[in-house]
């Protein structure tokens, strides 16, 4: 019987995994929309567009990675916008006080501060038994207030910061033609790659999916669910801290409202990227591509002469809706097809399906 067991591990070759199809279709949508836009916009898609997109997407992309990790465990983190604001202010204040400090120290402080705030969320949800929406809705307000008290009505302004801060945003690793590969984009790619690998290949990462797809079964199986959920929130906070640093380098001026609204944009990116809000499915790479797609469309629509800038949000809302509806209908089919292939490869008969009432399983 051991040979059968190892056959179960071997992947069926004929049919690609639904997550891969999702990621490829997101890339396809990005490519397709850019081709369509290229007919209407001059000098598009060129080096300038590439540079603009890769520098503007980083904040939401990094937040979407952390948000996905939390959503995969069947939770949500609505406090990330406030964490971005808090860490951006803290880091800015640190740099304004210690002008000689470099980027490494600043990034370190931002990440540690974000992790501390994230661990508050994690403790409330994992150990305090507070539902994630309530806990992070509360800390959304509390972190914002804490930042306001700390700031005392004084904004961080560009002239108080060392010169390298705003240059950091433009710092380039590699330049080919007009295409700049910026350092912040490389950092973002590294974050995405690391967590994609971690969630797909490392035991701790796989366990996050187990917790999200069936919390009861996961804890019955002896998984340390509370600890892992705590760590998921801590990671989301740490990544929001990194995003806070990038926000500082991008904007330079940090007021009490900095980062407000980013929480919903990160959820939108994750959901468009195929991360199910019900937990247990989706990938970090998908969330990154979701963020990229939304930002690509936003930046393209801005340049489209026929459309006024006021249409952009309305169009994005409609697009998110279309994306999740398409995803829900296609994903259901792909998943059952995938399950059938897996069953065939391990020689297990198909289960007898009973009449499940419509909408009974909303697993999209």
């Amino acid at each position: 019987m051991t040979t059968d067991a190892s056959a179960a591990i071997a992947r069926p070759r004929r049919f690609p995994q639904p997550d891969r199809i999702k990621e490829i279709s997101l890339l396809g949508m990005i490519a397709f929309s850019m081709i369509v836009f290229s007919f209407f916009i001059d000098e598009y898609p060129g080096a300038r567009f590439f540079d603009r997109l890769t520098t503007s997407v980083v904040i939401v992309a990094i937040l979407a990675v952390g948000q996905s990790i939390v959503i995969i465990t069947r939770n949500v983190d609505l406090s990330v916008g406030s964490i971005v604001g808090f860490t951006a202010y803290l880091t800015g204040d640190f740099l304004a006080t210690f002008g000689s400090a470099g980027p490494i120290a600043a990034i370190g402080i931002a990440i540690v501060a974000g992790a501390v705030l994230g661990s508050i969320n994690g403790a409330l949800v994992a150990f305090g038994g507070v539902p994630a929406i309530i806990a992070t809705l509360g800390t959304l307000a509390v972190f914002r207030t804490a930042m306001g008290l700390y700031a005392g009505g004084i904004d961080i302004t560009v002239d108080r910061l060392p010169d390298w801060v705003l240059e950091f945003n433009q710092r380039s690793v590699l330049t080919i033609g007009g295409f700049d590969l910026t350092l912040i984009f490389v950092i973002t790619i590294a974050v995405v790659a690391f967590f994609q690998w971690f969630l797909a290949r490392v035991r701790g990462g796989r366990r996050l999916y187990a917790i999200g797809s069936n919390p009861d079964a996961a804890s019955q199986a002896g998984l340390p669910a509370a600890r892992l959920i705590f760590l998921a929130f801590l990671t989301s906070g740490a990544l929001a801290g990194l995003a806070g640093f990038m926000y500082l380098t991008r904007v330079g001026t940090i007021s009490a409202a900095a980062g407000a609204g980013l929480e919903l944009r990160s959820v939108a990116a994750a959901v468009v990227g195929g991360v199910s809000i019900l937990g247990g499915s989706g990938t970090v790479l998908g969330a990154f591509l979701g963020a990229l797609l939304l930002d690509e469309l936003r930046l393209s629509l801005i340049r489209l002469p026929a459309i006024s800038e006021f249409w952009i949000e309305a169009a994005l809302g409609a697009l998110i809706l279309v994306a999740v509806v398409l995803d829900a209908t296609l994903r259901k089919r792909l998943n059952s097809r995938w399950a059938a292939e897996v069953r065939r490869s391990i020689g297990e008969p198909a289960p007898v399906t009973q009449g499940i009432p419509e909408g009974g399983s909303a697993d999209a």
Partner: protein, 327 residues
């Protein structure tokens, strides 16, 4: 009475909190007890609490509506855009605006039901989309100079000292209480919130109930948007932005479970009074609005965390007793 108190522990707690905050407010400032202050206490957030009453239905039903604040802005923008257009009588503008809110709710409800999608996702798209639609209608202009009767309805007392919006709130709260806790529709809302599947097998028309609630949520948000416009006297694309979080906070603080199936109108009403009371008291003593937000946030977390911790401690105390029990 004792029985009732045991079953409504949450409401009892809120009454305690309400009495405590009122006592503190009276002690801090003599202005508090004036009629003018009471009107002020409600007046500044009356649109939020009008929406919160319906949000309670949405959440008890096991769904959520993140789009309410955007729908408020959207409806007000529809009204303002029609008014600027000039050809439509203003009463018709108002009616169309409220109908637009109901349509927004209908649209989102249909998507949730038809595709079995989580309402969190659908109404998140609605939050972004309807805010965008408001911006499309008004761009970056502010529309004001509404007919005099409209501003008067929004700003002047209508019934005794009460302006129209507060009369609407009181009537709405009464109707909501009757429907939710005294009628068959309310029982269905709870049943669906507990388990939509079980409710379906019990023969409840789940989709119908859900759709009605989504439409009502949109309709009331539309009405609240118009009332907001009347009170403030002008409309911009960002009207009522970010209100959704305050509204949901009030409902959850009222003891409505975020997982659906439990909560009471009394709890929501008490939470409304408590939140307004706290904000009013802090406002009278010149506490910064930012700190008020933080206090409400702490209250929201504490309202769930503290009972949980108490229960945990109680369990820990009772576990050894079980361990020592003879087999």
């Amino acid at each position: 009475m004792r029985e009732w108190a045991r079953n409504h522990r949450w409401e009892v707690l809120l009454v305690g909190l309400l009495i405590a905050t009122t006592a503190i407010n009276i002690a801090i400032t003599p202005v508090y007890l004036g009629v003018g202050n009471f009107i002020n206490l409600f007046g500044l957030s009356v649109e939020k609490i009008i929406v919160a009453v319906v949000m309670a239905f949405v959440i008890i039903n096991g769904e959520i509506d993140l789009s309410v604040a955007s729908v408020m802005g959207f409806s007000a923008a529809v009204m303002a855009a029609l008014y600027v257009g000039g050809d439509v009588p203003f009463v018709v503008c108002v009616a169309i605006a409220i109908a637009a809110g109901a349509t927004a709710g209908l649209l989102q409800g249909l998507v949730v039901i038809r595709f079995g999608l989580p309402s969190l996702v659908v109404t998140l798209a609605g939050l972004i989309g309807f805010r965008g639609a408001a911006r499309v209608l008004l761009e970056d202009t502010a529309v004001g100079d509404f007919p005099e009767w409209f501003d008067r309805l929004g700003q002047q007392p209508l019934l005794g000292p009460l302006p129209l919006a507060m009369v609407i709130f009181i009537v709405e709260l009464t109707i909501a209480w009757i429907i939710l806790e005294r009628g068959s529709f309310g029982r269905k809302v709870y049943a669906i919130g507990n388990s939509a599947e079980v409710a379906r097998f019990a023969g409840i028309g789940v989709t119908g109930v859900k759709l009605k609630i989504f439409v009502t949520s949109g309709l009331v948000a539309g009405l609240a948007g118009v009332l907001f416009a009347a009170r403030v006297g002008s409309v911009r694309g960002d009207l009522a932005q970010f209100f959704e979080l305050d509204i949901i906070t009030i409902v959850l603080l009222g003891g409505v479970s975020i997982f659906g199936g439990s909560g009471s109108m009394l709890g929501v009403a008490l939470a409304i009074f408590t939140v307004l009371n706290i904000r009013n008291g802090m406002g009278l003593t010149n506490v910064d609005g930012l700190i008020q937000t933080g206090v409400i946030g702490l209250l929201l977390i504490g309202s769930v965390l503290i009972p949980n911790l108490v229960q945990k401690a109680r369990q820990r105390r009772s576990t050894p007793a079980i361990a020592h029990a003879p087999p």
